[in-house]
């Protein structure tokens, strides 16, 4: 391609922003784009999915996402610790927190999410943390007191990771969850039961079905205890809030960009805002109104937008797969497809094995053959063999899963 190069500004260098830049670098063989990346965090993009390993011996450098040749790539300018502060759509410029103004031909918003902190009294006390960034983890490490209790508010996937982090730091972790079971989004009641027992065996104290009333300060003004709605008081040298996330869409209002009903930059299936020069990808994007809190959908959005920027057709974003597999406190958990049997006519088959501490559930379509989804707790080895078969006939791995052991 000839003609002068155009400028792409990317706001956010997280997992989606990073994928966008890497994909564009691969696809833009003609050098049509110059890229300015504004990154609020002091680190270049890192593997947030593996964030917890930072407290388990992996360094920030090891967590960095691979970007071969980025540092010496003349097309890309990465400005760390510099956030986009405002957008002037008429002038097509972005003003940074450093006070500079950068003009753009295209702007991609990849600002991710911020943890939601429920406004309980005391939530802003010293000693209260969130769990999203390397900086958060540095602060938690600094504040941790081995041998003392720490309380995580929120028993979802991230809350359990945070609890494990406290354990790795030598603390006695408690988890408080409003729902009647842990990981209510990913697992059902029986699976949550197995998960709860297994993590309790590993020293985690679980308090489900109870709201958090307040965080109490000690004489030094720091958080000292968490008080639950039932009156229980849990001593806490450290409090970590992990009660969900909210898309970071604060740039939308002043710039006159639409937001989704539950927040996020409102975009269509091709991740386009109503302004033809502005896209949004990753957790901050409300694709047809819906935000996705996992890495994989963000990758697909980033790849689609990179293709559009290079004049290749983008992939319209349809249903996102919310499958998850992870290991929490040594307990494997996986949830895939229609895990809660929401499909019309679906049937559920499950097997709980107390001796092994495992639970497996499969959801089949009304033909009793088509695999629609499932939940695995305690042993997720079958995940790889089953998950690709979602929407297809149940493979023998599914039959084995529900058969007696041995």
């Amino acid at each position: 391609m000839t003609g002068k190069t155009r400028t792409l500004v990317v706001a956010g260098h997280g997992m989606a922003g990073h994928r966008l830049v890497e994909e564009l670098r691969t696809l833009d063989t003609a050098g049509a784009w110059r890229v300015v990346v504004l990154a609020e965090e002091p680190h270049a993009a890192y593997d947030r999915v593996a964030l917890s390993s930072y407290l388990d011996g992996r360094s920030a450098a090891e967590l960095g996402l691979p970007a071969p040749g980025l540092a010496s790539d003349p097309r890309v300018e990465l400005r760390l610790a510099t956030a986009a502060a405002s957008i002037d759509r008429a002038a097509r410029t972005v003003t940074t927190t450093a006070g500079d103004t950068v003009g753009y031909d295209a702007l991609v918003l990849a600002t991710g999410s911020k943890p939601f902190v429920p406004p309980v009294p005391g939530h802003e006390l010293t000693g209260c943390f969130t769990y999203r960034t390397l900086t958060d983890l540095d602060a938690i490490r600094e504040a941790a007191v081995p041998g003392r209790p720490g309380v995580v508010i929120g028993g979802g996937l991230l809350g359990l990771e945070a609890a494990n982090a406290l354990r790795l730091l030598g603390m006695e972790p408690h988890v408080v969850e409003l729902a009647p079971r842990l990981m209510p989004v990913q697992v059902d009641a029986a699976g949550g039961g197995v998960l709860g027992r297994r993590v309790e065996d590993r020293g985690l104290r679980v308090h489900c079905g109870v709201a958090t009333a307040s965080v109490q300060a000690g004489p030094d003004g720091r958080a000292r205890a968490v008080v639950l709605a039932d009156g229980t008081e849990l001593e806490a040298a450290v409090v970590v809030f992990s009660a969900g996330v909210r898309p970071r869409d604060e740039l939308a209002g002043p710039a006159g960009l639409d937001r989704g009903e539950r927040g996020g930059f409102l975009v269509d299936g091709l991740c386009r805002t109503a302004d033809e020069r502005i896209w949004a990808v990753g957790e901050c994007a409300a694709v047809s109104g819906r935000c996705y809190g996992l890495a994989a959908p963000g990758y697909r959005m980033a790849e689609s937008v990179a293709r559009q920027l290079c004049g290749l057709g983008g992939d319209p974003f349809g249903e996102a797969d919310m499958s998850t597999r992870l290991k929490l406190l040594g307990v494997e958990v996986a949830s895939f497809g229609d895990a809660h049997a929401g499909t019309d006519g679906a049937l559920e088959l499950s097997r709980l094995d107390e001796a092994r501490g495992t639970y497996a559930k499969l959801v089949l379509g009304s033909d009793c053959r088509t695999l629609l989804g499932g939940i695995l707790v305690g042993d997720a080895a079958a995940y790889g063999e089953l998950q690709p078969f979602v929407g297809r006939a149940l493979p023998s791995a599914g039959h084995r899963l529900l058969a007696a052991a041995g």
Binding site: V49, A190, A295, A296, Y299, R300, E303, D321, S323, T324, R325, L326, A334, A341, D344, G345, A346, L347, E348, L349, S350, R351, L352, D353, E354, A355, S366, C368, R369, A380, A381, Y383, G384, E385, Q387, P388, F389, R392, A393, L394, P395, S396, A397, G398, H399, L402, A403, A404
Partner: protein
């Protein structure tokens, strides 16, 4: 020891079977039955077939007793004189025994409802235990078509369905959250309630009767139900009055050991009135097995004379069109198939039962297998210990019910392919394990099987090299084993099968 003169108090299922088996095994002494009911022994479990009109009352009569057995119907035993080994009856007769067998069954538990007439004094209000009870309903029935069944246990559900079949307008009132809540969890209970509604039964759960007045039943939420007939199915308890007065040890029922003896070695108890740690009271099968076991012991017959160890419990709902079975479970106190207010333990409260019982011991960890198929009205929940069922509920799965019941009764292991066994579905067909090329293997990076096999063909030899070429496995890592397998297959040129 010879049994000598045998006297049986009771003329129900247990008594009838016992007399027949005693004769069969060659007892030579006399046998006398005292039965309070006016009728000859009849098949109590078929009473609901009289209610729905399928069988005339006379068809329930059991085969004639063997020659030489004396049956005094309409005679109630009122006192046992253990010192003299005599039983006094309400008609003034006195009966001597060498061996006394109590087979007095169970009696309905009646609720306390303000305004309720004493049962027996009105045809409009009755329990359902005897032929006389069923005949009372039939007698009133030509103009009494609006019927309320109180109690949603097995008996109440069966009776409600039977009356609906007979054309009554039936309301079923149950205090629990769903019918049969002692046996079914919420999912299955919802299914059953739906099936009953489909049969035309108006189901009111979570409600209690607050007052009765002249053909109207008021519920605790103020609702008023027209009740030309009010059928009380609120549980049953062992009939132990006679034993208690005689100073015999009584718990919920008359306590018996493996010889089916009470604490007086000359006095035995069998059937619904007896309490044995290995049997769930209120069921026909244990009553029959106890009758057989006692007859063998008293005549010294056969190898099974070793004593009674208990009966594996199978509870079947008798409603045409609804296949529902509960296997095992804790012997449910003494409550019979009523259940509305019975004393039984909660459903699913735990598997197995007292040690040494026929339910198998609950030692070790359980395995719980469930099937929930609300769209087709199918449900199963099996608790297994050592591959054997210790507790199970199945609904809408007639084949599995038949097969599993047989396995359970014989204490046999359940086949390892639980899915195939319960649903009758075929094992995965050959080729089902072969992933099609467009299947996404790495969801995190949206990499298809095709892309991975292409990478292998282009020279990627292991997972790392595939990852470098396609990014597969670099997200959550959940697909690593699949990618490794695909690499291996590409190397050997093989396929999965």
């Amino acid at each position: 020891m010879s049994a000598g003169e045998v006297l049986v108090v009771g003329g129900g299922s247990a008594a009838h079977r016992f007399a027949e088996r005693l004769h069969h095994h060659g007892h030579s002494g006399g046998v006398t039955l005292l039965g309070a009911e006016p009728a000859a022994p009849y098949h109590r479990v078929l009473l609901t077939s009289v209610l729905d009109g399928t069988l005339p009352p006379a068809a329930l009569e059991l085969p004639a007793l063997p020659d030489g057995v004396r049956m005094r119907a309409g005679t109630t035993a009122v006192r046992i004189d253990r010192a003299r080994r005599l039983v006094h009856a309400d008609d003034g007769s006195v009966h001597r025994y060498d061996t006394l067998v109590l087979a007095t069954g169970a009696r309905p538990v009646l609720p306390r409802i303000p305004g309720l007439p004493r049962p027996g004094t009105s045809d409009a209000v009755t329990a359902l235990r005897t032929l006389a009870d069923a005949e009372r309903v039939l007698r009133a029935s030509p103009d009494a078509r609006r019927t309320v069944v109180l109690g949603g246990g097995l008996l109440g559900v069966e009776a409600a369905a039977a009356l609906a079949r007979a054309g009554h307008e039936v309301a079923l009132v149950h205090r629990g959250p769903h019918p049969l809540d002692r046996h079914l969890d919420a999912d299955a209970g919802k299914l059953l309630a739906g099936r009953l509604a489909g049969l035309g039964v108006d189901v009111h759960c979570g409600r209690e009767a607050a007052a009765y007045c002249a053909g109207k039943l008021t519920l605790d939420d103020g609702a008023v139900l027209a009740a030309d007939t009010l059928l009380l199915c609120t549980g049953a308890v062992p009939e132990t009055a006679l034993a208690r007065r005689a100073g015999l040890a009584v718990g919920t029922g008359v306590l018996v050991d493996g010889r089916l003896s009470t604490d007086d070695p000359r006095i035995h108890a069998i059937g619904d009135c007896a309490e044995h740690p290995g049997a769930a009271a209120g069921h026909l099968e244990p009553a029959w097995e106890q009758a057989e076991s006692l007859a063998r012991q008293l005549t010294g017959a056969g190898p099974r004379g070793a004593g009674y160890r208990g009966t594996r419990c199978v509870t079947r709902l008798r409603v045409p069109g609804i296949d529902l079975v509960r296997l095992g479970g804790r012997p449910a106190g003494a409550a019979g198939p009523g259940g509305g207010s019975g004393s039984g333990a909660g459903a699913g409260a735990g598997a197995g039962s007292a040690e040494g019982s026929a339910e198998g011991s609950a030692e070790g960890s359980a395995e719980v297998v469930t099937v929930a198929d609300p769209a087709r009205g199918r449900y199963a929940r099996l608790t297994l210990h050592g591959q054997r069922v210790t507790d199970a509920v199945l609904l809408g799965l007639p084949r599995a019910i038949a097969a599993l019941t047989r396995l359970h009764e014989h204490g046999l292991p359940v086949p390892a392919g639980r899915l195939e066994f319960l649903l009758g579905i075929e094992p995965a067909p050959p080729g089902a394990d072969e992933l099609p090329g467009d299947a996404v293997v790495c969801r995190c990076n949206n990499v298809t099987k095709h892309a991975i096999t292409e990478a292998c063909r282009a020279g990627a030899a292991d997972v790392e090299q595939v990852a470098a070429a396609t990014r597969a496995t670099t997200g959550c890592g959940g697909c690593t084993s699949t990618v490794r397998k695909l690499c291996g297959m590409a190397r050997t040129g093989g396929s999965t099968s």
